[in-house]
Symmetry: C2
Subunit: 185 residues, 2 copies
């Protein structure tokens, strides 16, 4: 296996905004040549597959300016500075759906766009849900939708759920929960 690393020779900060930052790094490759890397900095995020006792999953539909369309996604949100991902998952779940979860289990974590972005998303399954009222965020308009997990997975396979974190988390959640049709003998 080749030695792999890209030591930074120069780093130029171009932007620091509310959510994202941007820098351009000049790196040295193992063959000695220099290359340029545009890096979008992101604090990281969580996403949650909230499952009720009837194996329905709560999804949120919201307008996504970057996509210029509304998308159906699992509840998710950005980590606050220093925030623990589990605490963030509980917070975002309650903010977006009004639910509190008795159980919050991490499935995996993944990079959303490792070619240019530092964002890591921690994906959870939430169970033992207690329903309440969603908290209205100042600049987000959400619609909460409840569908059977199997139907959500069909929406993924038919290309109607078009968000990478939601696709990954729903397919992994399907595998992580006992299926009603498969009794253990």
């Amino acid at each position: 296996m080749k030695a792999m690393a890209e030591p930074t020779v120069k780093s130029e900060r171009l932007y620091q905004g509310r959510v994202v930052g941007l820098r351009v790094d000049t790196v040295r490759l193992s063959n000695g040549t220099l290359a340029s890397r545009e890096i979008v900095e992101h604090p990281g995020a969580v996403c949650v597959v909230p499952l009720d006792q009837g194996k329905n999953v709560l999804l949120v539909r919201q307008y996504r300016k970057a996509a210029e369309r509304s998308l159906l996604e699992v509840p998710a949100g950005t980590l606050e500075p220093g925030e623990d991902p589990v605490a963030c998952a509980h917070r975002e779940l309650e903010e977006e759906t009004g639910c509190r979860a008795g159980e919050m289990r991490e499935l995996v974590s993944f990079y959303t766009s490792p070619g240019f972005c530092t964002e890591v998303i921690h994906a959870f399954v939430a169970r033992d849900l207690t329903r309440g009222r969603p908290l209205e965020a100042e600049d987000e308009e959400l619609e909460v939708v409840s569908v059977p997990l199997a139907e959500a997975v069909s929406l993924v396979r038919r290309g109607e759920i078009r968000d990478a974190k939601s696709i990954a988390a729903l397919l992994l959640a399907l595998d992580a929960v006992p299926r009603p049709g498969r009794r253990r003998l």
Copy 2:
């Protein structure tokens, strides 16, 4: 369902680089208030699950500066201006693995980070592979790895494949191909 759209009131371009661009849009929400949206612009990309006749999948390991680690991913790459995703999938597959594919089938397409980034990835399964030599890209150092598809999916479930597009594409590909253990009677 709430009316959903976020009309742009003002748009400020901050950066245009080799791969990504950055702008900040001021949008009007349906309740009349203004909100700010940081948008990372990306030309879009493809990713490919290349499957040989023995149901092995070709993966690539490469150092990702944004993650500061090497990651195991499905072959992938950025769309050239005006490029058809299918042509891009063939091109990237050959550049990264040396393989040509007799069949290139689109699974789904998805946004990698719709909260702040325009990137859409078109995910394909490639079959009927003819092996050749990978083309050396000037600023990429890749290692090609062949593993059984079932093993790749285990790596996903164990959290050892940590790239969202690869997770989504591998889990969808598992479903899209006939499984050796499940003969149709």
